[in-house]
């Protein structure tokens, strides 16, 4: 079909003017894609980047034909051509013949994307038997080869393992094996690493890059993190609100982006090299206020011996008991012997992967879990040893912002009620009128419109809900604020806004933060001091600049090595 002599070859996947709307109820529709066009050439990696709501996943599902028939409207002028063949309008049987064979897809959540009641080997050989016509024995032999190729240790045993018996990274490898089994020409990877830990993330990225090279297949890599794909992408497509904002070779997009939104995406993320006073936000770029080469005033961070300690934690420990055997209980030590000192007006960053115990530290300090051991001295009194009644008076002085903005606000309360409840409990404000005024004032302080007062949480975006949560904490004017992965669930652009807000509040009110996160760049940006946790223990603690410049512990070094090196 293509002449090997000419430079101009027909791209493997051609999407033209794809317009897709979803029927939300009987009358309304929601336009997810507003007419996008892009190409995926053969034997290359194309990154499709966009924040939530950009329509990137919808595009890939449309290629595979996985969108729900009854609620999806694809406009007639759209075209998706694969190897010269028009996919839209193809009868279902022929579409299904392509899927799994010539085009394969892997998804974000490997745990739920694998059938829990069949073994890994069964699910991989299913594709081989269906598309390649192999018999049982041949399929099993080939499955073993595939498991080895994707880097599963001990394939002989893992082939008969159920998904629940595999780790997250291994599950994703099995998904990849399933996808490449029939030598697809195009592999679509929809946020394959988002749900994985940083170190595993790097391994899976390397695996996909290696497979692409060895098999010479095309990879369409979908992600929300532009920095992630800097190393593996040949071409980059940036989407926003259902439209393509920029498309081009990776070097060009990263080095000299033409679109303001792309520029914003590249610069909103806190980088390891700079620490501006305020992170630039999307609006700054879209309105032209910021320019890429602009030198920004830097903020100095670090601890000094003269800092006034506001919280002194010694030997904090928390264990959970799990049932085991006939009558016994097994102890699971989530937090073992954590000690630190938090200075007034300073930020302590707590960094670690899932299972490191960092979230448990935060929850235990707030007495949402009962500590198994240790002390937390605040104004000379041990917060952990007090009775519940004594602690009630201290509750307003140490507060927490949770990770999931969609779950931390009561869906049945209006914003006004959410803000006024703590005031009522702690007798802030003399009467309802005063409380209402205070609440509205705080809404303005966190950058929300006054009309938000009477609305319900479901009408707000993730970033706005975090602001409401911050406002709720502010009603009590706490001295210590624990931010438990508070920006992890937010888009990069929104993340920058919330980080700026947190920083402004710290500057204004002198609050001390304990900032818990798995994202090393964010932690470096916002913290004065960083504590690295692994399996419940503190492996290293130092001033943030010092830690990133000179990591001592091997685990810290491996964490830093796994940070995707964005091309900045």
């Amino acid at each position: 079909m293509t002449s090997t002599m000419t430079q101009e070859t027909v791209p493997l996947l051609q999407v033209r003017d794809l317009r897709i709307a979803f029927r939300t109820d009987k009358k309304n529709t929601f336009e997810a894609l507003k007419g996008i066009s892009f190409d995926v050439p053969d034997n290359s990696t194309v990154a499709l980047v966009g924040e939530s709501g950009s329509g990137k996943s919808v595009s890939s599902l449309a290629v595979m034909g996985l969108l729900p028939e009854q609620t999806t409207i694809i406009h007639p002028g759209a075209s998706i051509r694969f190897a010269g063949r028009e996919l839209l309008g193809l009868p279902l049987r022929e579409r299904r013949a392509l899927c799994g064979k010539d085009i394969a897809m892997i998804f974000q959540e490997p745990m739920s994307s694998l059938n829990p009641v069949f073994t890994a080997g069964y699910q991989i050989s299913e594709v081989l038997r269906l598309h390649m016509g192999m018999d049982q024995r041949a399929a099993r032999a080939r499955t073993l080869e595939l498991l080895d190729e994707v880097g599963i240790p001990d394939p002989q045993r893992k082939i008969d393992a159920y998904p629940s018996q595999l780790s997250g990274g291994q599950q994703q490898r099995v998904m990849i094996a399933m996808a490449i089994a029939c030598q697809p020409r195009l592999l679509i990877a929809d946020e394959p690493t988002t749900a994985l830990d940083v170190t595993i993330q790097q391994q899976i990225m390397d695996l996909i890059a290696r497979l692409q090279r060895e098999r010479r297949m095309a990879v369409l890599f979908i992600t929300h993190d532009l920095g992630l794909v800097g190393e593996i992408a040949d071409r980059v497509i940036v989407m926003r609100h259902g439209q393509v904002r920029e498309e081009g070779a990776a070097a060009q997009v990263f080095g000299a982006p033409t679109d303001a939104y792309t520029r914003a995406l590249l610069h909103c993320r806190p980088s390891l090299n700079a620490r501006p006073l305020r992170l630039p936000v999307i609006d700054d770029y879209l309105s032209g206020r910021a320019a890429p080469g602009q030198a920004l005033a830097q903020r100095v961070r670090g601890t000094t011996p003269g800092d006034e300690p506001v919280l002194v934690v010694k030997n904090l420990a928390k264990s959970f008991w799990l049932r085991e055997g006939l009558f016994g209980k097994r102890e699971f030590k989530a937090v073992k012997d954590v000690s630190f000192t938090l200075g007034r007006g300073k930020t302590l960053g707590v960094v670690g992967e899932s299972g490191s115990g960092k979230t448990t530290v935060g929850l235990t300090l707030l007495r949402l879990h009962r500590a198994t051991g240790g002390t937390a001295l605040f104004e000379g009194r041990d917060l952990l040893a007090m009775s519940d009644r004594e602690y009630q008076a201290y509750k307003r002085r140490i507060q927490i912002i949770f990770q999931n903005p969609y779950a931390s606000l009561n869906p049945r309360f209006t914003v006004g009620q959410i803000l006024e409840e703590p005031m009522r409990i702690h007798s802030i404000g003399a009467n309802e009128m005063e409380r209402s005024t205070l609440a509205r004032g705080l809404l303005g302080r966190v950058g929300l419109p006054d009309a938000a007062y009477g609305r319900y949480p479901h009408e707000f975006s993730g970033g706005q809900r975090q602001r409401i949560a911050i406002a709720r904490c502010l009603t009590m004017q706490p001295e210590i604020l624990v931010c438990d992965e508070s920006v992890s669930a937010l888009d990069v652009s929104v993340q920058a806004q919330v980080l700026n807000l947190l920083q402004d509040l710290q500057d204004e009110f002198g609050m001390s933060y304990i900032f818990i996160s798995h994202d090393l760049s964010v932690v470096k940006y916002i913290s004065d001091q960083v504590m690295v946790m692994h399996h419940g223990s503190v492996v290293e603690m130092a001033d943030s600049d010092e830690l990133y410049r000179n990591p001592q512990h091997p685990y810290t070094r491996s964490l830093l090595a796994a940070i995707p090196r964005s091309v900045l």
């Binding site: 109820d25 009630q392 869906p411 479901h458």
Partner: protein, 337 residues
């Protein structure tokens, strides 16, 4: 999607809007409302209070079928006859005076040969019986369901929220009550409580039916108790009581409501079966179950109208209630992010 209104739509408003758009649900709701209205009228005595009057001949067929020869013969036979004058009766004059007085105040009414939906063995109007029976069954269903859901919610909330020994205690009760199949439980209690009556049935059904709501509400409270908004409420200092009933309950009340509508249906059916077996309402009260009991024997004689009336009314009510309950559950489906 942003409006300029001060207060935007909450869960119930949104659910109502969704419900209104569903035509089947609205039709079902209308039917249910109609039944409830009848219940109200019947219980206050405005309608069907005279169901015990024997206004028809025995087994009078429905009007749309038409009177048959037997019915007409019975009607004639049952007319009060004049006794022939007795010359030897010393009280004849007084008696005829009295008889004249009675005739004036209580004129003899000829028994009807057909009624709107026929009559039963004693000549009672089937339509009135059906309405009265409906009152019994529906009241039992509603009150028992309310009792069961209230108990189940209270126990489930305390159990799910506090955990620990409280949870163990209620779980112990739960496993005892569920180890015995509910029918057996009901029959056992009926055997032991010698007295019959609507109140007794309501108590039996309510005190044995709390287990379903308990399990669901306990699961909901465990799920919500671990959610961040409840932890946040704890962090800002809200009390346990406030967290359980101020924060969590508004988020799970729709589950309780749906449970209740399911239980109403189940309890109506259970009451009918109980009354059929004779363990339900006492003799003087009519219920769809007692009607079905009589209908069983009538069918062999070819009299099908009592069966049709009771079965039809019950089917209509239960179907519309079930359809409405399903639509309610879909409307309340809290995918409100």
């Amino acid at each position: 999607m942003t409006t300029l209104h001060q207060h935007s739509a909450g869960l119930w408003t949104l659910a109502w809007r969704r419900l209104r758009a569903d035509r089947v649900a609205m039709a079902a709701l209308a039917l249910v409302a109609g039944f409830l209205l009848l219940v109200l009228l019947s219980s206050t005595g405005l309608v069907a209070s005279d169901w015990e009057d024997e206004v028809g001949v025995n087994y009078a067929p429905p009007s749309f079928v038409g009177a048959d020869a037997t019915a007409r013969a019975l009607a004639r036979a049952q007319l009060p006859r004049e006794t022939p004058p007795n010359a030897f009766d010393p009280l004849a004059d007084e008696l005829s005076e009295l008889k004249a007085q009675v005739r004036e105040s209580h004129p003899p009414v000829e028994k009807r040969t057909t009624l709107l939906f026929g009559a039963d063995k004693w000549g009672h109007d089937i339509v009135k019986k059906t309405i009265k029976g409906g009152e019994t069954s529906i009241v039992v269903g509603l009150v028992a369901a309310l009792l069961a859901v209230m108990l189940g919610t209270l126990f489930g909330a305390v159990s799910g929220f506090f955990g620990g020994w409280v949870d163990d205690l209620f779980n112990w009760f739960y496993s005892i009550f569920t180890a015995i199949p509910s029918i057996l439980m009901i029959l056992t209690v009926a055997a032991v409580l010698q007295q019959k009556g609507v109140a007794t049935i309501v108590l039996i059904l309510g005190l044995t039916g709390w287990t379903g709501p308990y399990r669901l509400m306990r699961a909901e409270y465990i799920k919500h108790g671990a959610r961040e908004y409840v932890m946040a409420a704890n962090a800002i200092g809200a009390s346990s009581w406030s967290r359980m009933f101020g924060h969590i309950l508004p988020n799970v009340s729709h589950v309780a409501l749906v449970q209740m509508s399911i239980l109403v249906v189940g309890f109506i059916k259970a009451e009918v079966i109980l009354s059929f077996l004779g363990f339900g309402v006492p003799v003087g009260t009519v219920s769809w179950g007692s009607m079905l009991n009589e209908a069983q024997n009538e069918l062999i004689l070819g009299k099908w109208w009592q069966l049709a009336a009771a079965a039809g009314a019950m089917a209509l009510l239960v179907t519309s209630f079930s359809l409405f309950a399903d639509a309610l559950r879909d409307a309340l489906d809290p995918k409100i992010k």
